[in-house]
Symmetry: C4
Subunit: 214 residues, 4 copies
């Protein structure tokens, strides 16, 4: 199993997961004459939590996809450990539509259910982040990278990773108290990654900038 197959399979999973998000968006049909459903405009106006969750999860998966490729691209050889760690990462990616559906149903009201939903949402991203970090950690050791990081750069690189996962922990803790605040924190993580961390092609080529793989 070479790198391109690993990428093709992972790409397929990312693409299906990101598209399945749309299944969370649905309105009831007109209903019957005896039991009509609410007017469409009314139904749509109640769809905004589902739409907000859709947009956030969509960009989250998009960001993961970008980072996944940069990370995989930096790797020299695909072994069974990497295949397993990649499956762990994808396991959490595939859970995103599930967690998004729950956030759409419960998460954007600050009730007890809303806080539970948002904790779950954060846990899925945390799991994904841990899977990602595990691949990164694996890549640091045993001549797995095309351009090895010097040992003195390991901790700086890890710190950048831990900080990523750390923000999810903050979001989960926030969700215990206020689900809306937690959602905003996760949206800010997405905005941050889009604006700042998405690697440029230049960064990809120069391994000396600290952590090109995250």
């Amino acid at each position: 199993v070479d790198r391109s197959r690993l990428e093709a399979f992972s790409d397929g999973v990312f693409a299906v997961a990101i598209t399945l998000l749309v299944l969370n968006l649905a309105v009831a049909g007109p209903g019957t004459r005896l039991h009509p459903n609410p007017p469409l405009l009314h139904q749509l106006s109640h769809l905004w939590p589902a739409l907000a969750a859709y947009v956030l999860s969509f960009f989250m998966i998009g960001i993961i996809w970008v980072n996944h490729h940069v990370l995989i691209r930096s790797i020299k050889v695909v072994d069974r450990t990497l295949l397993f760690l990649n499956l762990v990462l994808l396991l959490f990616v595939v859970l995103i539509p599930f967690a998004t559906a729950i956030v759409a149903d419960y998460g954007l009201s600050n009730s007890k259910d809303g806080r539970v939903a948002m904790v779950l949402y954060g846990l899925v991203f945390l799991g994904m982040s841990v899977g990602f970090g595990a691949i990164f950690e694996w890549s640091l050791h045993g001549d797995h990278r095309l351009q090895p990081l010097p040992p003195q750069a390991h901790w700086a690189a890890r710190l950048r990773f831990v900080s990523g996962g750390g923000v999810y922990i903050i979001a989960i803790v926030a969700a215990l108290f206020n689900s809306i605040v937690a959602f905003v924190v996760m949206a800010l993580i997405a905005v941050y990654y889009i604006v700042e961390r998405t690697p440029t092609p230049a960064a990809t080529d120069s391994p000396d900038d600290g952590a090109p793989g995250d």
Copy 2:
């Protein structure tokens, strides 16, 4: 992240989105002896709005897919801005099965709900068109194209793009008054794109025809 990966991921999203359209087509089973459902032929005869919406959305996604590739193919380098703009485009592509389901349920009767459904349908295509136009605009600047357009050709190229998005605005305005007319307008856009705008390989190779990328 090189161009081929961007294409592979986008292709996956297009393929899943176009296939998910079929989930909007469904009939009830036979039901039980006590509560039988209507005869199958009767159910199928009520499926024509869903079928019309299916066919239109199918070709719309097909057209977007073609134009997406021609546009991406004209691009020299993939940077984080392009990745983000591409995600915005895909965000609207993935919304098409959702909007199609609503059109199937409500859109082809000229009721108030029907007009709301058709406005939503038009908005999704408009959003997609804006995402597409943003990628095109990005490609005009900063040495992003393999074969740069001369500055004097920029406005002609933009005009062709704006005209595309403009027709969606016309369809949305029409939908405020008559959902059937709006549907026909959008169907005509699809026919026009299939007959006239789908680029030939020759057009792809000759950048001097104005806007090969749209």
Copy 3:
């Protein structure tokens, strides 16, 4: 849009459509204590029509996928006509899970509904066959094939195609009288294609055997 992208997108649609077939297979959960559902074994024993329809549609899509690639592989250049014809073909491929669901629900009892279901099933395959034949016809003209067929071989090649579509017409006519017979006819078509018509690599390379593209 080159040939490999056309293949990648079509492959994606084939793969999603063939996998969506599984959504037609479902049993109810245990139910509640007050309203328990029938025992699982009882539910599974009523699933055989859905399973038969699943297996047939699965191999049908598999056969189309094989033939699609052999046909596309024989083509020299991708133009807008081919893209459009390919979309027509895929439009019917995506309808297969829908028609399969109806056959699963109605088709394997020879009631009026069963015959309607089977006519619809046959019509979807006929439409797909017509889309396929249109691509083949297009490939015969205007220097579209890598290895052009000599004109005197055109009619023999067409005949092989028409015979394929013709058998679907026979199945549709049979479905008007007996849905089970029609299902068996279509199953025999699948078996025939698997055993006899799936092209060998040798046949693909030698265009002189009549119709390597079908």
Copy 4:
């Protein structure tokens, strides 16, 4: 149809099947004021059988994907027999989300329904294993491998395969008596494959280790 297309199509099916598993994970929405659903935390706490089934099926499909590539990679030429056998394998792969849904609903309580569910689950994996073994057997004969196995290595290689399928038979027999035990057996198979049998790149390159293809 060359090897890369066979892989691309199979990859697509694997990716969609593994992602569809998430559809088995769902909770009810909040319900209405008059008929509220149970609290979210309560609903989630009843989701653990679905989650356990999700994780096991996810890794099972992941393992099959890895082994599929190693096996296909060892093959020299794609003929119609291989295409058909590959479809048989994929037919069972696509059934995994269906069987997983049943295990999620019934399988993890040792009732009669639970045992039926687990037998079905085992049968799907057995069918997949038989499809896999058939491709392997086909590869042994008639110059189908890039690096032919010496005849004296055939039986050792088969034994490794039969042992794999054999364990599924054990799991099925166990399921007749206790569904939980059967589930644990299948989970152990997955762990074993992840830890021991996932081929290393080195093993892939050296055909002399017995059965590099399984």
